[in-house]
């Protein structure tokens, strides 16, 4: 990947990272003022979203180069630089992050425990995510990778639901174990590269040029892949996710499913695949196998759940399996589909988690055996629930379908059997999603609760997401255009 | 230099071991503190001697630092000992074992 000429322009990318950090700092400093911190968080996230939209509209056309690029010397002794770059893939992720973070703030409005700290952590999380999606220096990447971890740990551990400490610790240990292995691999790669060239640098573009023996490459790739596989999560490293989701507060769940999982896939696309091109090609069938197992294993797992949050969590694992399958197909269409599916999955699953939180707030339960008949008293909420569930099971015309069909068609070109098997996943998805819909919406309600349909704030949360779900289902073309050249850069630059 | 470096080092070593023995053997907090003082002074002695031997001022500067440090340390630790004595009625070190694992 080449770098665009670093014109002295306004450092928008840094703003995306440091604005939320500043917001978080102010939030913490204003300590006890709950309302102010809510509005501050909203203002910050909306501004960040606005900036990212601005960046999108002014991105212009640049094939092969970065749309935006910032590069400053940081710790020159170790060759560490502060390098940020934005191409189509990361721009999409940044947009998704900025959008979902606004949603996360809005659905956390009723939060009343240590409010300023809560919103501060949300904004730190946003900064970390932005950093991960933009960093081009590996130390910077690793730094943000860990920055993301800590707020999430506290969000689950302090503001979570039942068994929150178990879940938070499980989440923390799983991801930390993964990322420490990545750190070791990273340092090893740095040293090898330094010895070869005499130039000690952590820049991704430099490290890509390292000349590795097959064994070295395999081990280092495994190290990186482990970190990303835990985060994605790929079977069998997935069991932290349902627990983390079940315990996390609503905003935590939205961020977890919508964004944190995406960093795993993004890491593969941006870091692991370009760094180790030859071993990647060899490991693609294995990756596909794991992905296929993941699709069905998680779908089966989802079918068995009675806690709807856990069910949706399992469905995420299943969907991410399809995303990875698309990557393993190593085909432009499949990759575009994968990244699109990642985005749309973030929105649909985010919507489902938001709705689950609303349902729990009203009925006091998330258990399928205790819920039922919600349509009778809250038709609007139920209609949104149905919409997102249908999008999630891949109904054509809604968001997830476009990504799924592109993945499948793209995969079929080179690996018909994989695609044919994966196609059966749609029946599985329908099975567990409809089971959930049936348990929540239909039948008679089994317990009494106050029948309050959507409030204004909840409309504000759901309508933008619903609009996006329909829009991306019918007109994903702008996003596909955005993805085309960066995807070609990644998959075309390989033997 | 009047005294050979070796002699000073031997004295310092003896001083240090004595301090150490005091620290290990005594049970009163105050005595342990005194033992630590002795050990620090042993180190200071070595620094002064070395400074004289190599004709460089670094060692002496260090000793001045060491003195300042010691006085600060003593001031705080003695205050804490007084506080602990008031709190628990004893200054035997092993009585304060609440920070076990």
């Amino acid at each position: 990947m080449m770098t665009a000429s670093a014109l002295p322009q306004f450092p928008w990318l840094s703003v995306l990272i440091f604005l939320p950090l500043a917001g978080a700092l102010i939030c913490v400093l204003t300590r006890e003022r709950a309302d102010e911190s809510r509005w501050l968080a909203l203002a910050t996230t909306v501004t960040v979203f606005g900036i990212s939209l601005y960046l999108w509209f002014h991105a212009g056309d640049s094939s092969g180069a970065w749309l935006y690029y910032e590069d400053v010397d940081w710790i020159s002794r170790f060759g560490i630089r502060y390098t940020l770059g934005l191409d189509g893939i990361s721009l999409l992720m940044v947009l998704l992050t900025a959008f979902l973070q606004v949603i996360a703030v809005l659905i956390s409005w009723p939060q009343d425990k240590h409010v300023p700290l809560f919103f501060a952590l949300l904004m730190v999380l946003e900064a970390g995510l932005m950093g991960v999606f933009m960093a081009l220096d590996m130390v910077l990447f690793y730094l943000f990778w860990e920055v993301m971890l800590i707020p999430m740990f506290f969000l689950i551990g302090v503001w979570g639901h039942e068994r929150r400490r178990y879940a938070a610790l499980k989440f923390f240990l799983y991801t930390l174990a993964g990322s420490l292995v990545m750190l070791i691999a990273l340092i090893a790669l740095y040293l090898i590269h330094g010895e070869q060239t005499g130039l000690y640098s952590f820049a991704l573009s430099d490290l890509m040029r390292t000349d590795l023996s097959t064994t070295q490459e395999a081990w280092l790739f495994a190290g990186f892949l482990l970190a990303f596989a835990v985060k994605t999560p790929l079977v069998p490293f997935h069991t932290w996710l349902p627990d983390a989701h079940t315990s996390a507060p609503a905003a935590g769940s939205v961020d977890l499913a919508g964004l944190l999982l995406k960093t795993g896939v993004y890491g593969m696309i941006r870091v692991a695949f370009p760094l180790f091109p030859t071993v990647v090609q060899k490991s693609l069938p294995l990756l596909a196998l794991v992905a296929l197992i993941g699709i069905f294993h998680a779908a089966w797992g989802a079918y068995r759940q009675t806690d709807i949050k856990r069910l949706v969590a399992y469905s995420s694992i299943s969907h991410l399996g399809l995303v990875i399958l698309g990557l393993a197909a190593w085909d432009l269409t499949a990759w575009q589909g994968s990244i699109l599916l990642m985005t749309t999955h973030g929105i649909t699953t985010g919507g489902l988690f938001a709705l689950v939180a609303m349902i729990r707030q009203r009925t006091g339960t998330r258990d399928l055996t205790e819920l039922g008949g919600l349509w009778q008293c809250m038709p609007n909420l139920s209609a949104f629930f149905l919409l997102f569930a249908l999008a999630s099971l891949g109904l054509p015309g809604l968001a997830n379908f476009t990504g799924e069909i592109l993945v499948l068609i793209g995969t079929f070109q080179s690996h018909p059997i994989w695609a044919a098997i994966a196609m059966f996943g749609v029946v599985f998805a329908a099975a567990y999603m409809l089971k959930m819909v049936q348990g929540v919406l239909w039948g008679e309600s089994k317990r009494t609760f106050d029948c309050e349909d959507l409030t204004l704030r909840e409309w504000l949360v759901l309508v933008p997401m619903a609009v996006l779900v329909v829009w991306l289902g019918l007109y994903p073309l702008p996003l596909l255009k955005l993805l085309e050249s960066p995807v070609l850069t990644v998959i075309g630059g390989m033997p | 230099m009047i005294v050979p470096l070796g002699h000073v080092l031997i004295v310092a070593a003896i001083l240090f071991v004595m301090g150490l023995a005091c620290v290990i053997a005594r049970r009163q907090l105050i005595m342990i503190l005194i033992g630590i003082e002795v050990m620090i002074n042993a180190a200071g002695l070595v620094l002064v001697a070395a400074s004289g031997y190599w004709q460089q001022l670094d060692g002496q500067v260090f000793v001045v630092f060491l003195m300042a440090l010691t006085s600060a340390e003593v001031a705080i630790s003695l205050a804490m000992v007084v506080y602990l004595r008031r709190l628990r009625g004893t200054v035997v070190a092993d009585e304060f074992d609440r920070m076990n694992g």
């Binding site: 068995r304 054509p396 070109q413 044919a420 329908a430 099975a431 409809l434 073309l477 | -």
Partner: protein, 627 residues
């Protein structure tokens, strides 16, 4: 007029559906009803208005690009041609009548907005299937009708069984959709396009083995939507929905989508003789299977549901025998008389006080408007194939085409089809006798029949009786108009001498008379149902549900339990948690070292110091030894 206007045909119902969805509950009821009917009727009128566009090669129109990636380029495009035009007209026309009927039928229901918006959405999705220019857009409609069917079967969701029936319908049809999806991907891989006409044009270049597999995949896809063996279990349960839904979705339109798909891709599938035989076999077996089931059913709508399945089987036979005309002809006439029968059944159920069981009916004509028996009878004789009705001509055409197929195997299919025709006549007249003959045996109080529930039936009754004129065979002096209209798309023409044709007509008449005779002998005066193992077996649809449950559902659930409890819980989590408990017990050992006593720390420190000192000394001694 520009061809973009063609998009108005599907978009008008969509627009009305969205409008009702958003504002239906906030507006007066009448407004929602008018909007619903207007949307569909508008589509109907537009189709008539735009009919000239279907002439010749038809007209293509593109709205905007949906997906574009690499060589994949999919637009929202419609293709209004000679095959799509009559289908569009039928769908929108029958839908208009059914919407009017539904306004009367749902008069009491408070949830009208959801009902009408789903119904309009359905019409939109169905029209998308009909008009789609490429397979992915067709797939959009294909899944769309499935969704609406799901929502409408479970419309009265308070009874969980209704919702379950909807879920079942969605899942079973989705199994078929998987095969359609695979066929779609494969076709793209082979031809590099998903445009239906382009695929048909390139069909000859596809290797014949692949064509066979594609044909079977498409067949399975069609089977799901059209409730053919082996994916037929959902249709009978789908009767849980409101009756207009059954009439529209599960009789006239959606279940025939499979047939339409096969007709659309006829140039492709007709290349595989084995595939065509498979299609015929599936059709014939379903026709017979469903007819036997229909004989034993107790609920009026289930009789009609199995009968639909059976008639769609005839359409499959027609496609398999190589005649698109035959399939489309039967599809159209079936839409008329089966929608009529369902709507009549709705009236009957209304009069019987929401009672479904035909053994608790009888003499229904005297409980309501007297004309009901005549319109119902018009549909029934058409279904039974009484000469000169529409069903007679279309079914005869199908059987004739199967009989004249050169492959001797088709003679067996023909035999099966003839047997099914006999059974059809029997169960139809059984239904008529049980519902209308004798005295009322039930105890329900009749609801009033609004006018809107009555007069759409007259229109359909007329169509059911004279619908045969659409494709009147040359035998009786007709012009085979549908055949000529379809032109290149029509498939194999009828080439048979008139003696044989008269013979087959005679046979058909004999069958009808025989079926009627048996029904008359058994049911003219009411006697209770047979209760023997065979009739119970037929009542439960050959135990198909039990088999599916045993073979698919239970293993699926067991596998789900295994993946969740067996692997995730017992294997992975147990391993991880086990590791952490090991770690914990190890650290419990280590923590004893932290006594908290200053003396032990100091002692440890001193010993450590000594150790280092000793080691240094050792180094010194060794180093000295070397020096």
């Amino acid at each position: 007029m520009s061809e973009t206007l063609l998009f108005l045909i599907p978009l008008l119902p969509l627009f009305c559906a969205v409008a009702i969805m958003l504002f239906g509950m906030r507006l007066p009821r009448l407004f929602a009803e008018v909007l619903a009917v207007t949307g569909v009727a508008g589509a109907f009128l537009l189709t008539l208005l735009l009919w000239p566009y279907a002439d010749g090669e038809g007209t293509r129109a593109v709205l905007f690009t949906w997906l574009n990636s690499g060589s994949l380029d999919i637009s929202f495009a419609v293709h209004f041609d000679r095959l799509a035009a009559p289908m569009t007209l039928m769908v929108s026309g029958v839908a208009t009548l059914i919407h009017l009927y539904a306004v009367g039928y749902m008069h009491q229901d408070r949830d009208y907005a959801r009902f009408f918006s789903l119904l309009n959405l359905f019409v939109f999705a169905m029209l998308v299937i009909v008009l789609a220019d490429n397979l992915l857009v067709l797939f959009l409609g294909w899944e769309g009708v499935g969704l609406c069917s799901y929502g409408l079967i479970g419309f009265w969701y308070r009874k969980l069984d209704n919702a379950r029936a909807g879920t079942k319908a969605f899942l079973v049809t989705r199994v078929g959709d998987v095969f359609l999806g695979i066929a779609l991907m494969w076709l793209f891989a082979l031809t590099g396009t998903l445009s239906i006409s382009a695929i048909n044009a390139q069909a000859a270049t596809i290797p014949s083995g692949v064509t066979l597999v594609l044909c079977l995949l498409l067949l399975l896809g069609a089977c799901g939507k059209s409730a053919q063996l082996p994916l037929m279990t959902w249709l009978a349960d789908a009767m849980a929905g409101p009756t207009p839904v059954s009439a529209l979705i599960h009789a006239a339109t959606m279940v025939t989508a499979g047939v339409y798909l096969l007709c659309r891709l006829f140039p492709l599938i007709s290349l595989s003789a084995v595939g065509m035989a498979a299609i015929t076999a599936v059709g014939a077996l379903t026709a017979l299977y469903a007819a036997t089931c229909a004989m034993a059913q107790r609920e009026i709508k289930r009789v009609l549901a199995y009968s639909t399945m059976s008639q769609v089987g005839y359409m499959f036979m027609a496609v398999g025998a190589g005649t698109v005309t035959g399939a489309m002809f039967h599809l159209l006439t079936h839409a008329f008389f089966k929608a009529l029968l369902f709507m009549g059944a709705g009236c009957v159920i209304h009069l019987a006080g929401d009672e479904n069981d035909i053994y608790k009916m009888g003499g229904m004509a005297r409980r309501g408007p007297g004309e009901l028996v005549w319109v119902f009878l018009a549909g029934a004789i058409s279904l039974a194939g009484v000469p000169l009705t529409s069903g007679f001509f279309s079914k005869d055409n199908v059987l004739l085409m199967v009989y004249t197929h050169p492959d001797p195997l088709y003679k067996i299919f023909w035999g099966v089809g003839v047997l099914a025709a006999l059974l059809t006549a029997f169960y139809t007249f059984r239904l008529v006798y049980l519902v209308f003959a004798g005295d009322y045996r039930g105890s329900g109080t009749a609801h009033a029949l609004p006018l809107l529930m009555r007069w759409p039936l007259w229109v359909l009754a007329l169509l059911a009786l004279v619908g045969g004129s659409l494709n009147l065979p040359a035998l009786v002096g007709g012009h085979e108009r549908l055949q000529h209209w379809l032109g290149d798309l029509a498939g194999r023409p009828v080439t048979v001498d008139h003696h044989l044709e008269w013979l087959l007509v005679g046979l058909a008449v004999v069958l009808v008379v025989l079926g009627w005779g048996v029904a008359h002998w058994r049911y003219a005066r009411f006697r209770n149902a047979w209760d023997n193992p065979l009739s119970r077996f037929l009542l439960r649809g050959w135990q198909a549900d039990a088999v599916v449950d045993r073979v698919l559902v239970r293993p699926f659930q067991a596998m789900a339990l295994f993946c969740w409890a067996g692997i995730d819980r017992a294997l992975i989590d147990a391993t991880v948690v086990g590791m952490s408990t090991r770690m914990l017990s190890l650290s419990m050992l280590l923590r004893r070292l932290t006594t908290g006593r200053l003396s032990s720390y100091l002692a440890a420190f001193a010993w450590g110091f000594l150790l280092i000192l000793g080691w240094l000394l050792l180094q010194l001694v060794q180093g000295g030894g070397h020096a």
